[in-house]
């Protein structure tokens, strides 16, 4: 590994650690200032006040906030995210199986997002201002303007209520293999695609247009090389690097965007676990999930920057020499 890349990684990792630490403080403070408390949420609205007190004591919620945070961060550093309130189970145990569902959802979306946006973006660039371009651009621009719960609802109405092709609610059954329940993931994946695709397609289209009008492409064409080869050998590689950042941005967004999508489809993932935990004021779970999402966000950005450096020799050399 060369020096600038190593340097970059080191600074970024340090920054990432600082970010995570800061986020943990902010989220902890927020949970403290949220009105309502976990004990009351656990025992029901009209719980006996003495039972509420007892539960608060049991989970150490009667201690000062600083002490609570210190004991939590101490555990978190050793990988122990504490116990979920009030079930008392470890947070890992509670969110582990759900994290698998979220991972399937986001990774599938990402794996579809990347090839689709390149195909659509480059096609739109080649057929600029013609019918194909409009057919690609108009729907993507419309969906980018819509929040995921609107897209999700429209998909439910269309595919579940009218066409009756797909289930409207993602009721995953843990006792059956996930491979037999793929239909439950289709609408959520489409929702996430709908909210991310437009931005990447627009970016690819813009970059591809620039590449297509560049002099070297003109020269390649003059040499009589087949259009397909021009596209694959010359246009595609040159659109990848500038779009990595946009893809990374959307991938990072997916990590958080699942919260709403999972709620719309009632899909048991960490996103819906987060909204449940907030309602239950289950502080350790809220902290663990927000940190997982933050860490994913930071990690994706880190990877994208490293990729850009690796794929762009000019940047690498320029940094190395100055």
């Amino acid at each position: 590994m060369n020096k600038p890349l190593l340097q970059l990684l080191l600074t970024r990792i340090t920054l990432a650690a600082v970010t995570l630490f800061a986020v943990s403080i902010v989220v902890f403070a927020a949970t403290q200032y949220l009105p309502g408390d976990p004990a009351r949420a656990a025992l029901g609205a009209k719980a006996d006040p003495s039972a509420v007190e007892a539960l608060r004591r049991e989970f150490g919620m009667d201690r000062p906030a600083v002490v609570q945070y210190a004991s939590w961060i101490g555990g978190a550093l050793t990988g122990d995210f504490g116990r979920s309130i009030p079930s008392g189970r470890s947070v890992w145990e509670a969110i582990g199986p759900r994290a698998v569902n979220t991972l399937i959802l986001t990774v599938t979306s990402l794996l579809l997002l990347i090839p689709l946006s390149f195909v659509l973006g480059i096609a739109a660039a080649i057929y600029k201002d013609r019918l194909a371009d409009h057919l690609i651009s108009v729907p993507t621009i419309v969906t980018v303007a819509l929040p995921e719960f609107v897209i999700g609802t429209v998909l439910i109405v269309l595919f579940a209520v009218y066409l009756r092709w797909l289930p409207p609610v993602s009721l995953i059954n843990d006792s059956l293999p996930l491979s037999s329940q793929t239909s439950l993931f289709i609408l959520p994946v489409l929702t996430l695609l709908g909210t991310t695709l437009a931005q990447v397609v627009r970016m690819v289209r813009a970059v591809a247009l620039e590449v297509l009008s560049a002099e070297y492409i003109y020269m390649v064409r003059l040499r009589g090389i087949s259009p397909a080869r021009v596209l694959l050998r010359h246009v595609l590689p040159n659109t990848i690097t500038p779009t990595i950042q946009t893809i990374a941005l959307n991938a990072a967004w997916l990590a958080g965007g699942v919260v709403v999508t999972e709620s719309v489809f009632q899909l048991p993932g960490i996103g819906s676990a987060l909204s449940e935990a907030v309602i239950n004021r289950d502080m350790p779970t809220v902290l663990a999930i927000t940190l997982i999402i933050t860490a994913t966000y930071v990690l994706i950005n880190l990877v994208s920057e490293a990729l850009i450096l690796l794929l762009n020799p000019r940047l690498r050399v320029a940094r190395g020499t100055t």
């Binding site: 009105p35 007892a54 309130i85 409207p168 609610v169 009632q266 239950n280």
Partner: protein
């Protein structure tokens, strides 16, 4: 997705009858008439088989299989299917013996003998005996177990007060005479468990369905108990409870056939169900309320005339039609309409703004001072009713300002019970449990901090009166005090709204809770 709803082996006698019918057709008109007579019976004959998939709200990570700690609808529905109580309430709210056979007490009324039903068997095959009852009551009375029923039982007896006299008789020695022991033992959280039970990972009960598997907060699978005490029941092969927390998603899942029944619909969705022939709306007239209260320790509600005026200035029908979409019953400022001892003989308080005005005048009410009404969307129709009440008050020149907070911080928020008026909601209760929780002197959930010596006198008399009709008289006297001087504005009772596929038969709406009190032993697929 559903497993065989119509198993070929369904019911051999059915096929027999069909054969009779066919023969009847051949034999002539006389037999045909007889055949026609048989037809309705044929349609009503419950079929065996099928798994009922029920979509309902669940408590997520805090879900539990412990029936003594009820956190969400799913946990409660599971407990209802797996466990039984000594007594229970029927669909109209009347008490009946479930696993108890007979209650007797000494002359003083502080020592009770409970005879148990014979022939009741646990899911593991062991017989149900008095030891199980003693174990359960002592478990509840141990505060370490945090049983929901602890506050119901702890004031009545010590753990050593309960003992088994023989295999089928339990003796309960109370701290003092108490007439309502059978009723208290029918409380929602008074399930019976097997002697020696220490955990609920694989709960064993006496109920119609036995536990198979679960995924916490998401899904619970139950199967027919083969040693259930009613021969032939349950008809279903099993029940599957599936967590769907969003009411719209529950409705979607039902329409798409992902589930066969759903609990707790909004009134706005109920109309859609009624319009759909493939679905059945199940409407239960419950005693649950969304109501408002007036703090009796804050001005101007220290004056009983102001409280009376506020009760007169609200248009109950409008509140019911708008805040509850018409799915409910008008209230008469008294809780517990489903209790047999509810004072139904008291006149319905009418909408009378003129009288309200004159009462306010008598009390020297200051119209220029706004009254604060603390509210939220914490229960069906809560915020809507508060908004409507503020509008109705305006008509007689009373200014009510709403203080609205988010639902999840409503009851625990710092302003609860601190403003002149507040909103509240109560579930299905008996008068006894409502009075204990919400009307007792000093009780935290006595929301308006209302007290009355006369009311207390009648209630304590009722508690020690063993003659039913006499006890009812005392309860009515107590409710008269509430009707005249109380601090709740109880404008309506909410219907519980559920829905099922039209193929699901015999879910009988119950006053007690959703989907026929979640009792599915006599439910079947058509």
């Amino acid at each position: 997705m559903r497993k065989d709803v119509y198993p070929p082996k369904a019911d051999s006698t059915l096929i027999g009858r069909r054969d009779v019918l066919k023969t009847g057709l051949l034999l002539g008109t006389g037999m045909m008439l007889a055949g026609a007579g048989l037809r309705p019976a044929l349609a009503d004959e419950p079929k065996r088989g099928g798994t009922l998939r029920v979509g309902l709200g669940a408590a997520g990570a805090k879900s539990s299989l412990n029936p003594f700690i009820s956190t969400g609808d799913m946990d409660f529905a599971v407990a209802q299917s797996v466990f039984d109580r000594l007594t229970d309430f029927d669909k109209d709210g009347n008490l009946y013996n479930k696993l108890a056979d007979d209650f007797t007490h000494n002359a003083e009324g502080n020592v009770w003998k409970i005879k148990l039903k014979k022939g009741v068997v646990w899911h593991d095959g062991a017989p149900f005996t008095a030891k199980d009852v003693v174990y359960t009551i002592q478990y509840i009375l141990n505060s370490d177990n945090k049983a929901d029923a602890y506050p119901n039982l702890a004031p009545l007896l010590e753990p050593k007060g309960v003992r088994a006299l023989d295999a089928n008789t339990v003796e309960v020695a109370l701290k003092q005479p108490y007439a309502l022991l059978p009723q208290v033992l029918g409380s929602k959280v008074m399930f019976l468990m097997k002697d020696g039970t220490t955990d609920f990972d694989k709960p064993i009960g006496t109920g119609p369905f036995k536990f198979v598997s679960w995924s916490r907060g998401q899904r619970v699978t139950l199967a027919r108990s083969d040693n259930y005490r009613t021969p032939g029941q349950p008809y279903l092969d099993g029940v599957e409870f599936i967590a769907i927390n969003d009411p719209t998603a529950r409705m979607n899942a039902l329409v798409a056939g992902q589930v066969d029944a759903v609990a707790q619909l909004d009134g706005s969705l109920a109309r859609l169900i009624e319009a759909n022939p493939a679905l059945t709306l199940l409407r239960s007239k419950s005693g649950a309320t969304t109501d408002q209260f007036m703090m009796t320790n804050l001005k101007p509600f220290t004056d009983v005339r102001v409280r009376q005026a506020f009760r007169l200035m609200i248009d109950r029908q409008q509140l019911l039609d708008n805040a509850l979409s018409g799915y409910g019953r008008i209230g008469n400022d008294l809780h517990c309409i489903t209790d047999p001892d509810y004072a139904s003989e008291l006149p319905q308080r009418a909408y009378d703004p003129d009288q309200a005005k004159s009462l306010l005048k008598q009390a020297g009410f200051d119209n220029s001072q706004a009254i604060t009404l603390y509210t939220s969307d914490a229960a069906p129709g809560m915020q809507a009713s508060a908004t409507l009440i503020a509008n109705q008050a305006k008509k007689i020149g009373v200014d009510i300002e709403l203080l609205v907070v988010p639902p999840d911080s409503y009851y625990s928020g710092p302003n609860f019970k601190k403003t002149q008026m507040g909103s509240s909601d109560w579930g299905q209760h008996t008068l006894e449990s409502q009075f204990g929780q919400g009307y007792a002197r000093g009780a935290y959930w006595n929301e308006p901090d209302w007290t009355s010596d006369e009311f207390d006198k009648w209630v304590s008399k009722a508690r020690t009166t063993f003659d039913g009709p006499k006890r009812r008289e005392y309860y009515v006297e107590a409710q008269k005090v509430l009707w005249n001087e109380g601090a709740y504005i109880i404008w309506g009772f909410r219907d519980l709204l559920d829905a099922s596929s039209a193929k699901v038969k015999n879910i009988v709406p119950s006053t007690q809770r959703n989907l026929g009190y979640y009792q599915f032993e006599s439910v079947y697929f058509a």
